[in-house]
Symmetry: C2
Subunit: 169 residues, 2 copies
């Protein structure tokens, strides 16, 4: 598997246009997230609703996004929250999506590196991601980029637990 | 294992004083969190630093805490972040701690129920928790309270991945 610091990977990265999104990108990001959920048969409120929310969220201090490709074919969406264990916030990579035909081109790595740099600039203490158990490819991708699924002290993994408060459909 | 809706459990709950914390509780919460990390051999910046942060966080819109017992022997600390998939925020139970000698008394359940009610009042779409793989007791506790470690659609678990951005010690 490619080393993200290899000469080839660095060259790919330097050729990959990535930028931090503004509210003006809301429609484009909404289209990608809608495609993401549609690809994986997950419910989506539709592009218009997502775009409206993103316009608000991206104008605030707790959400940012990184876009990759020209035209844009990939997105990382990150939210920040305060945390008592650190002075800075904790970032969560809520969504990471690259259009199917563009996977393996280095765009995902370029987006992720830019995302980490923005988190650093914002003073974030850590970045978290919840990864589906079956998604070995995603785990390898994040591990290559310095993420770990085990606690450095205990060597233990942690599971993501969840309770919806929305009325059942 | 006790059913949280049983008569006995409800009686215990009704007898357990729980309240949403204010900034004035910062010192008390800091002492509990410090005891928590000390019990589990995890690093802690100390009571003074935690109390200072909590005074700020509890005065803001993105953090709340629930305290249980009189005197206080348990705490739940929750942070909120926006999310593109819902109108309301998503809540994360960052910390849940009951002093060792008080465990099994129903205080944890009373705190958790109050925490869920506050999340509802705040319009949260969901509550998330990261639970250590070995902590079967915690998993059972959260499952009894309506949390699930598997995605309702895919039946899959998700792992918590993490990258620290703080300088290594």
């Amino acid at each position: 598997m490619p080393d993200p610091d290899s000469v080839v990977e660095r060259a790919k990265r330097d050729e990959t246009p990535v930028h931090r999104a503004s509210s003006a990108d809301a429609q484009r990001i909404a289209a990608l997230l809608h495609a993401f959920n549609t690809e994986f048969d997950t419910e989506t409120p539709g592009v218009a609703v997502l775009a409206e929310r993103l316009r608000t969220l991206l104008a605030g201090p707790s959400t940012f996004a990184v876009l990759g490709g020209d035209p844009v074919v990939g997105v990382a969406l990150v939210t920040l929250r305060p945390n008592v264990w650190s002075d800075g916030p904790v970032a969560l990579l809520d969504e990471m999506y690259v259009a199917p035909e563009q996977r393996g081109s280095g765009i995902g790595s370029a987006i992720l590196r830019q995302m980490v740099e923005i988190c650093r600039d914002l003073g974030a203490a850590a970045i978290e991601i919840n990864v589906d158990e079956s998604d070995a490819g995603a785990m390898r991708f994040y591990e290559r980029h310095g993420f770990s699924g085990t606690d450095p002290d205990s060597g233990e993994r942690a599971f993501y637990f969840y309770r919806s408060l929305e009325p059942a459909n």
